[in-house]
Amino acid sequence: MSTLKKTTLALALAGATLATTAQANEVEVLHWWTSGGEARAANVLKELMEAEGYGWQDFAVAGGGGETAMTVLKSRAMSGNPPSAAQIKGPEIQEWGELGLLGDLNSVADAEGWDELLPEVVADIMRHDGQYVAVPVNVHRVNWLWANPQVLEAAGVEMPTTLDELFEAGEAIREAGFVPLAHGGQAWQDATVFESVLLGGQGSEFYQQALVELDPEALGGEQMIDALEDFKRTRELMDEGMPGRDWNVATAMVIQGVAGFQLMGDWAKGEFTAAGLTAGEDYLCAAAPGTEDAFTFNIDSLAMFRVSDDEEREAQQALARLVLEPTFQEAFNLAKGSIPARPDLDMSEFDSCAQQSLADFQRTAEEGGLVPSMAHGMAVRADIQGAIFDVVTNYFNDADMAAEEAAERMVSAAQAASF
């Protein structure tokens, strides 16, 4: 225990010494876009800032899906020296807002017309107390089904559009000698499959009630039990080597033609692209079965910390403006596999999956069905998300647990997680 405490303090000290305070008209940006393509994408933003005469101090912290970066950010904030901007997403923006540490971006938002530009669900996440405090960088869609067309052909099946079709296709693929559904047995991957299956079987309205509003009646009700049972059935489509497998290894199974399908967010596209495959030809993408009228989003955003220096604040505002400008949106999202956070861009450079994603994003934003991803920390606070993960992954891996019991635990998880 004391070791961990020491680590925290060491990180705090390291953070404080490494990061010299941002100078005037300079922004210091904490992020974890450190993989090849992402780093290049972040560099575009840096060049745009520098072209306008602002300084950019890179504060990239690699590793662990941002866990390390968040630890560094917490220690910087506690020592009273937060960076100008940090990659913070979802309900965490509200937590930082409640601590009174975030500055407002209302003037940029008014000038650029963010209210009209951004879908209401997205804008809501970027606001704390009615003030814009963060700017969205990209939109990932989580409810995707990826497929290897050769495997589908060998098994004689089409892309499934409902859960029943998925299970039928799965049987055929199994008989043809392939793994139907590639999966990695990690809590977040279990939760990713769970939310897509729940959305596919029960619809976006129920999804909203259960996994966003945490309505106890929805969490413990019949529909949840149905969703949990569907979820457990997907296990029959997976192979026994899955525990602990990383998601990209599972994607590789689809690429190599070992497995037919994978339920995963659109970052999986990066793996297909890196393998030199073309969307629509060498690999297929479609909304997860039963979810073509829904869109679970996972949005990266940059939150701005409150600063006292006027020039630094000006630089922050410029950063916020540039992030939503077409140049950066296009360059960044092409590299990252996601779609732009503003729906009015020319999408001709993007592949067919991204184009479909954007079309669905606009459609669901207007007609309903645009919901935040629970598995990716967009819907509920980290502690509740963690408690739900525990229930989901335990139920999924425990052959003896009944769906009724899991639903009950889901209710208590949503209540007991917080004070």
Partner: protein, 314 residues
Amino acid sequence: MRDSLPMKNTSASRLGPGAKRSTPSGGLQAWLPRLVLAPSVAISLFFVYGFMLWTFVLSLTSSRMLPSYDFVGFGQYARLMANERWWVASTNLMIFGVLFVAVCLVIGALLAILLDQKIRQEGALRTIYLYPMALSFIVTGVVWKWLLNPQLGIQAMVQGWGFESFRFDWIVDPDMAIYTLVIAAVWQASGFVMALFLAGLRGIDDSIIKAAQLDGASLPRIYLRVVMPCLRPVVFSAVMILAHIAIKSFDLVVALTGGGPGYATDLPATFMYAHAFTRAQIGLGSASAMLMLGGVLAILIPYLYSELRSRKHG
């Protein structure tokens, strides 16, 4: 120079209290060791005990993402007791700790006794057995993860030999996965225990064994009745070292099973890390850390007490 060693009770008491300050430099010499030690004592007091205290304080608050000082009494402990996953983690630690220490001791002692039979190439064998200790638990975890993977490792290999019905899929079975941790940890640490025992065996006076042989005792009997009792201090050290490896096990779990399937192989250390650092529940994480500390003390203090007391008397 006797009085330059005032810290040693024997020399100081032999010379009497006045002898300590008999020379002008004696005062400095008496204080020098304390002065030199003071910074490290202060640092350990602050960083070890100070932070233990801080963790305790935090465990009484409702701290979530950042530490706060909104006190809620023992509420976090109550939540912890109601937390299903905490009980899984604690039970796992009991299973893992007991099996790991016991199996390591048995295998280590056996290896040491066999190596002690004045065999050829003892040095080479000793190195082979000791070598796993040189690896980090991360490496051990990853290697065993592959070996135990039903589609890559041992199961696939034996099935490839034609034994189609052979199954060894503990790592994907929530009820058995905790034992895979024991296997990997024992593989890593038993060579080290062997080295401890071997050193102990070498320290035993040959004449005792010869006397026993003259009395007509068989070899197993000599080891059980004569040698092992002499090795009690070695067992003590081995248990101390193994117990703390078991309790702080974190990297092995992360590398081997990632806590899974589900959270079937969660240990208190991984529980605490998950809650304090990724789930924004610093209060709950601190409470679990305090319970871990309590658990360690509950085991160690009686053991230390009985061992040290019996050694003084016996």
